[in-house]
Assembly symmetry: C2
Homo-oligomer: 348 residues x 2
C-alpha cells in the first residue's frame, strides 16, 4: 500500500464538508489540515473532520507533510489560492468552475505549468456511474451515429439567494446558474464528445430578487459534429438529466438531485434508460461509483503516476470559456466562437 495523499481543506463552507466526507471514503487520501479566514469555521471543521487547523494559509502551505490543497473558496478567489499553492509546490483539487473570469483561469493554467503541480478540477458530473456508462455506450457504437446531446441541471437556489452573498454578485458569479450548474453539463458533454467550438445562448433574470441571472439556455456547436443543448434554471424545482440521440438508440440519464451531495449514494438514485431505434426501451443497471471520492482519487493517482489529471486546468478553462462565450452571446444576440474568448495556445 502506497502512502495516501495528505490533503488540507481551504475555504470551509458547505461544500468543504461534502469533499472532506469523500476523503474519508478513500484510502488514497488523508485529511491532515484545514484553513479558513474565519477562526470559528476552522475550529468547527477541524473538530468535525479530525484535522489540524492552520491560522493562516502561509502556515498551512509551510507544512512539509502536506501534499495538496482541496480548494473550495469562492470562485473569484481560486486563482490567488492556487498560485500560492503552486509556489509552495502543493498539488490542488479545486471545485468547479476553475475560476470566475478567463483572466483568473489563465493565471491558474500558468501557475500549474510553471510549477509542475498536478491540478484536478471538480467537474464531478462526468464521474457519475451513468455518465461513465454513456461514454462506454458511445465508444462501443451502441448508440450508432450521434446527432444531438441535451442536458439540464436546475435547482431553486436563486429563490433563497440574498443580495449580500457572493453568488448574488454578477461580477463574482457571472451567469449565475450558467457558471454554477450548466458548467457541469458543458464538461459532461466534453467528456462524451470533445470540445465545444461555438455557443449561442440566452440568459434570463426571471424570479430572483438579486442582480444575478437565474436562467440560462445554450446551443453548443461541437467540433466532432453533433449539436448540443444545455439548460439551467436556478428558480425551479431541481432537475439533473442528459439525453444522447443516436441512430441505433437514445440514452437518457436521470439523476435524483436530492442525492447530489452524496457521491456514495447518488448512483443508486440515478436511472439510465436506453431507447433502441424501434424497440422496447429498457433500463441499464448502473454499478455505483462515488463521484466525489473518484475525483479526489484521480488527483492522488495523477501525483503517484506523474501524469496530468483527467480534468486538468486546461479542461477547466475550456469549460469556463464556454460559460463566457455564452455570456457574450446572450449580450450580443449572436453565436460566439470559443476562440473569441480564449487564446488557441491554452485550449484543451
Amino acid at each position: 500500500m502506497t502512502q495516501p495523499l495528505r490533503v488540507a481543506s481551504v475555504g470551509l463552507g458547505r461544500w468543504a464538508n461534502v469533499i472532506a466526507a469523500a476523503v474519508r471514503r478513500s484510502s488514497e487520501l488523508e485529511l491532515v489540515g484545514c484553513f479558513s479566514r474565519r477562526a470559528q469555521a476552522r475550529s468547527d471543521f477541524a473538530a468535525a473532520h479530525g484535522c489540524a487547523p492552520a491560522s493562516s494559509l502561509e502556515e498551512l502551505l509551510a507544512r512539509p507533510d502536506l501534499d495538496a490543497l482541496l480548494v473550495t473558496v469562492p470562485n473569484h478567489v481560486h486563482a490567488e489560492v492556487i498560485e500560492r499553492a503552486a509556489r509552495a509546490g502543493k498539488h490542488v483539487f479545486v471545485e468547479k468552475p476553475l475560476a470566475a473570469s478567463i483572466e483568473d483561469g489563465l493565471r491558474i493554467v500558468e501557475a500549474v505549468r510553471s510549477s509542475g503541480i498536478k491540478l484536478m478540477v471538480g467537474h464531478s458530473a462526468r464521474m457519475l456511474a451513468g455518465s461513465r456508462r454513456i461514454r462506454r455506450l458511445i465508444d462501443d457504437g451502441e448508440l450508432g451515429d450521434l446527432s444531438l446531446v441535451e442536458a439540464n441541471f436546475s435547482n431553486d437556489r436563486a429563490l433563497e439567494l440574498t443580495p449580500d452573498r457572493w453568488r448574488a454578485d454578477p461580477d463574482r458569479n457571472p451567469g449565475g446558474p450558467l457558471i454554477q450548474l450548466a458548467v457541469h453539463q458543458f464538461d459532461l458533454i466534453r467528456s462524451w464528445l470533445g470540445p465545444v467550438e461555438a455557443v449561442a445562448a440566452r440568459i434570463g433574470h426571471l424570479h430572483t430578487r438579486t442582480r444575478v441571472p437565474d436562467l440560462a439556455t445554450c446551443l453548443l456547436r461541437l467540433a466532432s459534429g453533433p449539436f448540443a443543448y444545455v439548460g439551467s434554471s436556478w428558480s425551479s424545482s431541481a432537475a439533473y438529466w442528459a439525453r444522447v440521440y443516436g441512430s441505433r438508440a437514445n440514452a437518457h440519464l436521470e439523476v435524483d438531485f436530492r442525492y447530489w451531495n452524496q457521491g456514495e449514494r447518488v448512483d443508486a438514485h440515478s436511472r439510465l434508460r436506453i431507447e433502441p431505434n424501434g424497440g422496447d426501451p429498457y433500463e441499464v443497471e448502473l454499478e455505483p461509483a462515488d463521484m466525489y471520492r473518484d475525483e479526489l482519487e484521480e488527483l492522488a493517482r495523477s501525483v503517484r503516476e506523474d501524469r496530468t489529471p483527467e480534468v486538468s486546468a486546461e479542461v477547466g478553462l475550456a469549460n469556463l470559456a464556454v460559460v463566457h462565450a455564452a455570456l457574450r452571446s446572450a449580450e450580443s444576440g449572436r453565436e460566439v466562437r470559443i476562440d473569441e474568448v480564449l487564446p488557441e495556445g491554452v485550449r484543451a
Copy 2:
C-alpha cells in the same frame, strides 16, 4: 343528435389513412368522399374507408352534400387546395404545418377570412392527454412560477429518405425536421405559454444523404417571460418529450412514439411525471383522449357553433413563422424576431 360534418379526404397518402381512421372513431363526422390525382390511390382509399372517390377536386367540391375537406396533400400544395375549398364554401381540416412558405400561409389566412369558412390545423400534440393535463397544472398554479419549457420530437425518417421524395427537397420541406416535427412542439409551447417573440436556432445536416437538413435546435423567447428550447433530430431513435420547470414543481411528459399514429392508444403509452420542489416525484394518471379524433371534432364543433377553431389559420401561421425565423437565425447566426418574418396584422 345533430347531423355529422360530412368530410372528404384530399391527398391519399399514409397520413390520410390515420385521419380517416379517426373519423370512424367519431360520431360527429362522416367520411363521404376522397380525391387524389392518382386513380389507383383513389379507388384503394375509397374501398378501404367506404367513401365515394371523385375524379377531380372540382367534382368533389361541387358535391352539395360535402361540408369540409381533410387536406393531407404535401405542405407546398396546401394553399392551392385550401383556396379552392374556400371558394367552394367548404370548411377545412389541414395537416400541420399550415404551409411550407409564409407566402402560402398568408394566402390561406386570406382565403379563410374572405370566405368565412372554418379552418382547423392539425397541431395534434397540444391535444395529447398529457399536454392538456400540463396546461391545467400551469393554469391552476400547481407548477408555481415558470422558468423554462423544453421539448423534443425526433425520429429516424431522414435515414430512409431518398432524393426523389418531396420531403427531401429543402424548397418544399424547408428545415426538414424543423417544419415536420419541431413545429408540433412550437404549437404545444404556444398552447401552454402563448406566443413566441424571437428564435435563435441551429440547423444541421449530419447523416442524411439528401439535401434537406436532419437536425434542428432552437431557443425561443416567449412574450409571457419563460424561455423555451425545442430540439428535433430526423436521424436518431425516436423521442417525444416535454418538460416544464416551475418553482413549485417540474412536469415531465414522455410519449412512446411507436403509438404516435394511433390517437386512441397514444395516451395510454404516455407518462406524466411531477417532480415537486424537494419532494418525491410521482406519476399522474392520464385520462385517455384521442388527439386525431379530437382535432377533427374541434372542426365539426366550430362549424356547428360558428366560432374560430382552437388551432386557426392564424395560429398555424404563427407556428410556421417560428419555423422560418429559426431558418433565418440558423443562416445568419443571430436571434431573429417573429415580426421579421411575419407582418403584425396577421399574428395570432
